[in-house]
Amino acid sequence: MAAVLTRDIIKKFGEVSAVDGITLTVPDGEFMVLLGPSGCGKTTFLRIICGLEQQTSGDLIIGGNVVNDIPPRARGVAMMFQSYGLYPHYTVRNNIAFPLKTTRVPRAEIEKRVAWAANLLGIDHLLDRRPRQLSGGERQRVALARALVREPTALLLDEPLSNLDAKLRASARQEIRQFQQRVGTTTIYVTHDQVEAMGMGDRIAVIDHGRVRQVGTPAEIYDDPADRFVATFVGTPPMNLLARDGTYLGFRPENFLPRDMINNGNGGVTEFSFRVDRSEYLGSERIVYGVVEGFDTQVITAKLPPAHVAEESIRPGEWHPFAVKNGAMRYFSRDGKRTSWH
């Protein structure tokens, strides 16, 4: 296990910069999530770390050693691919044993380690099957076992849950997280799914257009977004933004509530007149879409808590007094960067 450091990594494909200067520190044992929209360069960055791509410039340091020119097999990192990349002609046992065979581990030791990894992931009973005889969830475990069997310096996961159905994904998320905490391997996890990112990461690096926009704990990313991109990328529905003289005022939909639900508290509140256009009933909450007075062109969402879920009082077409606590307001400057008040 080892820390992974990158220093100003740039990767160009022709004229296009896929990765545009990423500097990131992942301490030993941390679960770091790279979150970003498709095509933002997060997968390319991961491929650079494991050595499948060579960066155009910048340094990559794993466990204190610069590994820029070291081939993938000598870096000691393991990677789990989106499609798992299992070897279809091998049994599960041989799939898991493959990384050990390449490093000429003695046969008895291979057997022991395969048994350990299979046991860890609860796939002992599948060892003699072939990948095509496995379900999606089982394949994912086999891929994870194969990645872990040689106790990698770092574990790289490239959207490992995107091929699973929603229900399985939730439990797999838990499993990977628990399991990473138990083994303690430095893990870099790439996803475009913010639920995965928020639920799993010790820290999240939000990436857009090949650059890191913000690195922080899930709470920091959510509560204190560094810029407009992070504010609107993280959170469903995303943060509301009101443009005013070129600057932006942001607040989360769950903080935008009917006036009578908010007590003044310390710091005071800002009141808005809100016209509801339509609302969505989601069982545990109600999402309301509308506009606030003075900002007629910008759709604003409010997430109403259970107390208001079934209530008929928020009727479409009517103006209602709404408010946001001042402490929940976020301000962004003309160029999108976070600023303090005004």
């Binding site: 491929r47 494991c50 393991a78």
Partner: protein, 310 residues
Amino acid sequence: MAVIAEPVAAKPVSRFRFILDRREVLGAILVAPAILYVLLLVGAPFLLAVYYSVSAYTIYDPSWHFVGLSNFKQIVQNPVFIDTLENTFLFTFASQLLGLVLGKFGAFLLLRPFPGRKIVRALVILPWAVPIALASVAWEWMFDSLYSVINWTLIALGIIDRSQAPNWLGNPHLAMLCVIVVNAWRFFPFAIVVFLAGITSVPQDIIDAATVDGAGFWRRNYQIIMPMILPIVAIGLIFGIVFTFTDLSVVYLLTNGGPVNATTVLGFQGFQVGIVSGDVSHGAAISLFMLPVLFVLVIGMLRFIRRREI
């Protein structure tokens, strides 16, 4: 108010109106030409050949007199036929092996991007596309005893002396080598296409996974890519073996079976005996001799492929 479906006065529809929408009818119509073709142009001649091989039919005495397996007995007792059998096996397997090796290397070279790759990919198909009659003439000149460009090059490079220049098509062993090389040359573009199709069908994720798992070039090739494309290669090999086993064109055009039957193969001998000499019954027996062997070989390979299917 309850809505009740009004019975509509149904117009009688011809039962043939949607006949082409029926899967089994359309399928039969589409497959029929191919089946007809096979039955008429392969099935009928084949049955005819089977009958010829157990009759005493010659073009001079076209009698349908049934003689049992005596034709087969006679050809087996002929020492030239045994040589022919050996030649056929050597010719087939050596040229296939050479073709496969060339094909694999070619495919790997053509996978890498380089300027002009598209043109090279197109050109590489040439040996396969050029009429074999034309190509054989070119090869014949290259192997010519006096004007061989190969010998000229070897002499110019100082590798051999003019006095010991090999007579490619005149020496029995070299003549066999020549027909093998020419046949492999003819086959290898096909092998390249098969390998290219196979290798490009291996998902990049699997190759990447192997790379990260610590496999170098050779291990990736022989433990991951080759086993995965084996079914495709085996199909290509079946084609190659069947076509080469029954082929006579290269031998006919290049050596005419010589020198002294050194390059005679089954197809060629069947043609010589059955068509040129007019002894149709013995020609048919020679041509059909390898059918059971090929049949078993192909069935065996197909079963192997099915077992390996991923």
